[in-house]
Symmetry: C2
């Protein structure tokens, strides 16, 4: 094993009560945790104990589902949870090193509001805010925002690009030292250091300035997870952390090379964009124990829920009427984003899976890489990808919370630390410092 | 003095570093407090020590100003501060009884996002969230949201009314006991207890459901401060707490009667709408000490800032070119909202004030009632209005923070408690319980 002088970046992706589709039904799970602050506080502290760079909260602008009716929906285990920015604002004051990354959609927000909220979170956390930029992906969300269906994929990304120009422009409304609060002269700020954005674009006309000073990190860290060509170009221009769904080493290496190359082509240092594939984890003290944990969760998957999740992951493809014990039918083309559908279909074809086997096989990580075993086994697999140029780190998706996160923090991380692959103390106090990202210079 | 078996509702209106226009220039002030969590934590704890029902944060969707250029603007003391919902989310976990009321505009937000954020805050605080509903009032804000100027007053209120229908509808997406998390049957919730809103209106088409359960208070408390006829009608239908600018007892009594009558006409119990006039306070152990504190702040008012504030308070009326030591010119009619302009103009005419005298006279409370003196003197004045049917309580606006809030909590409140006018212990843990507001029944 090669010792590297760089260490892995670790994200903790923390949907209550865990990533496995049936986690909420596990006897030890606490399904109401999604709306309990103490539950999340405990998770955040576990992530900090485990030297994670950041915790990550996904988000939808509504209940995203492919279930046909309330009866089917009622069997789904996630659905109601804290709004991420409010939750992370509260967690900011109970943690001291953990990055706090919330998802928010460029399709259903205004840039001025988003710029403010993330800047405010950056102040509350003394420089630990991150924004996972998404364009959203369902008509269910569009219907909460005056639309019958969502805008076409290309339009969503066009809006997202302009959205980023506005938001980053607003974040530079004031130079870092604009506010001197000079009581004697009566000057609150130096007028030379105020910059009015006056953005006039196709989607947005935004004057500015932002009503917050430049935040501790200069800008919150930009996170993104697009995998379409538009998504990867977006990442190349804007993202500092990229989450991605990768099943096998070669494809992951190819993605890694591709997105770093695109960043370089966009004039950026490739090192300033960190690639974090998702890994679904089941940790046991022995391999058998991990396997047992997994089988217990698998046995709790309701076929209705499994099929609904599969349909959602394939891009809202309706699978009703197909034999669960027969093969996956041909997929209709979905508009725009096809990355995840491809990964899943390929996985089904390669392994000759029936529909039931397919949904069971992704009930855990929904297409993400699946790691099950002892701390040493899991560390081996993480190290393999890390040294092979497939990842700068990983977005860890525990099967069940808090147990799965505790296991990772207390069993896997020490093993990675022994190998010099994970820090033993935080390098700094801001998310940028810990990830090794530059603090962006003010544009003026 | 009549003992009442009801007690005053107390709001603490807490813009850093205090309400006086020149508070930030005071030698003891901490002007950077608007972006420091510890500063606000200290304020929230002082408000809780003082048995306040709630703390209140105003908000603008941008820097609201009537200053002509950056040079003038740079002399203004407020401008950059936390976004209120994020700040209150953080404060929620450091307080246990204080209501947390954030301002948010119906003109520059989407109802789905607002419903989520306040519901999330209600969960984080275990039932202490309130929303101060505003329609915004400046073109400066409109310019941050794709507009050259704001929509006409009547249109803003029309949108606000429909906005409330959507938001309250979303808050009733799920019945209180919808989520039973039945692990055995695999039902996360009872499908009979889900209600899809399907709102189809003029401004909004919103399907729902909200991705949060019904919150601890059923609904966050609705606060409002409109004073136009549209504003008062809005209050009568929706508001549970009304803030108001009142200078004299008779007008305050008239406002109180009017808005309670309107509530009754709208089919509500008048008692379920609490009227809280704002009171700007300067507290001293002796009257002279209070007067000295006040004069020190007055001496720090920059004429440029005074004039800009006056112009803003009059509804963006340009006063340049007028002699500061001459009378206020005739006011141009402002569209829609005229309540505050009227109060100020009347005040100037009645007291024969020059422009300079006028801005100095409102540099403290910006038109709000002005209370200066000893704890006994201030308690007398609060009691007078309270027993005379002019107020259910007060929104306290300290001259300078934290000093002015500490003085109110530690000197004025004990005096009010001796008179039986303020609680000595919180009645409950939710804002509704403390204000004596019903928890709204679910609509289905
Ligand atoms: C780890 C991970 C987390 C994601 N979280 C969200 C999310 O919270 N909300 C969302 O709308 N999309 C989320 N996505 C989806 C992506 O943001 C993106 O929309 C999707 O990968 C399709 O991208 P594309 O359209 O560029 O192919 C996530 C994707 C990944 C890999
Ligand atoms: C105590 C108080 C606080 C207020 N806070 C805000 C605020 O934070 N943001 C805002 O846009 N307007 C605020 N206002 C203004 C009112 O919400 C309202 O827009 C204004 O009184 C005009 O109402 P009208 O148009 O019905 O006359 C406040 C008013 C009062 C009395």
């Amino acid at each position: 094993m090669t010792k590297k002088n760089r260490t892995m970046a670790l994200g903790a992706f923390l949907p209550a009560p865990g990533h496995h589709l049936a986690a909420w039904r596990h006897p030890e799970s606490h399904p109401q945790g999604g709306l309990e602050f103490d539950y999340y506080r405990r998770l955040a502290l576990a992530a900090e104990r485990g030297m994670f760079d950041l915790m990550f909260l996904s988000d939808g602008a509504g209940v995203r589902t492919a279930y046909k009716d309330a009866d089917e929906l009622s069997r789904q285990g996630r659905m109601v949870h804290f709004e991420p920015i409010t939750l992370l604002s509260a967690l900011a004051t109970h943690t001291s090193h953990l990055g706090l990354v919330a998802t928010a959609s460029t399709s259903y927000n205004e840039p001025f509001n988003i710029a403010r909220k993330f800047s405010s979170l950056d102040f509350l956390s003394n420089g630990r805010a991150g924004w996972n930029v998404v364009t959203s992906a369902t008509d269910a969300e569009a219907k909460n925002f005056n639309l019958e269906r969502q805008a076409p994929h290309a339009d969503r990304y066009a809006r997202a690009r302009e959205f980023m120009e506005v938001v980053t422009g607003l974040w530079d409304s004031w130079e870092d030292d604009a506010f001197q609060f000079d009581k004697d002269s009566g000057r609150f700020f130096d007028p030379e250091k105020l910059h009015i954005l006056n953005h006039q674009g196709e989607h947005f006309q935004v004057r500015g300035p932002l009503n917050l000073a430049r935040s501790p990190q200069g800008q919150p860290v930009i996170v993104q997870a697009g995998s379409s060509p538009d998504g990867k170009d977006f990442a190349a221009h804007w993202a500092e952390v990229v989450f991605t769904v990768q099943q096998n080493l070669e494809a992951a290496q190819e993605f890694y090379r591709d997105v770093k190359q695109r960043a370089q082509d966009a004039g950026r240092e490739p090192d300033q964009l960190k690639v974090l594939p998702g890994v679904f984890t089941v940790v046991g003290e022995t391999h058998d124990e991990a396997e047992e944990k997994y089988q217990q969760l698998q046995s709790l998957v309701d076929p209705v829920v499994g099929l609904g999740m599969l349909s959602y992951q394939l891009g809202m493809v309706d699978l009703t009427g197909h034999d669960l014990d027969g093969p996956l039918p041909e997929m209709p083309a979905i508009e725009g984003s096809t990355g995840k559908q491809n990964v899943i279909v390929q996985h089904a074809r390669e392994n000759n899976l029936t529909i039931r086997e397919l949904y069971l096989s992704i009930a855990a990580g929904r297409g993400h890489r699946f790691l099950l075993g002892t701390p040493v086994e899991i560390a081996d697999q993480l190290e393999e990808w890390f040294v092979a140029g497939a990842a700068d780190g990983f977005n860890v998706m525990p099967d069940m919370l808090p147990r799965g996160l505790d296991d990772f923090a207390d069993l896997v991380v020490p093993e990675l630390q022994r190998r010099g692959l994970v820090r033993t103390a935080y390098e700094g106090t801001t998310l940028r410092e810990n990830l090794g990202l530059h603090r962006p210079a003010h544009r003026h």
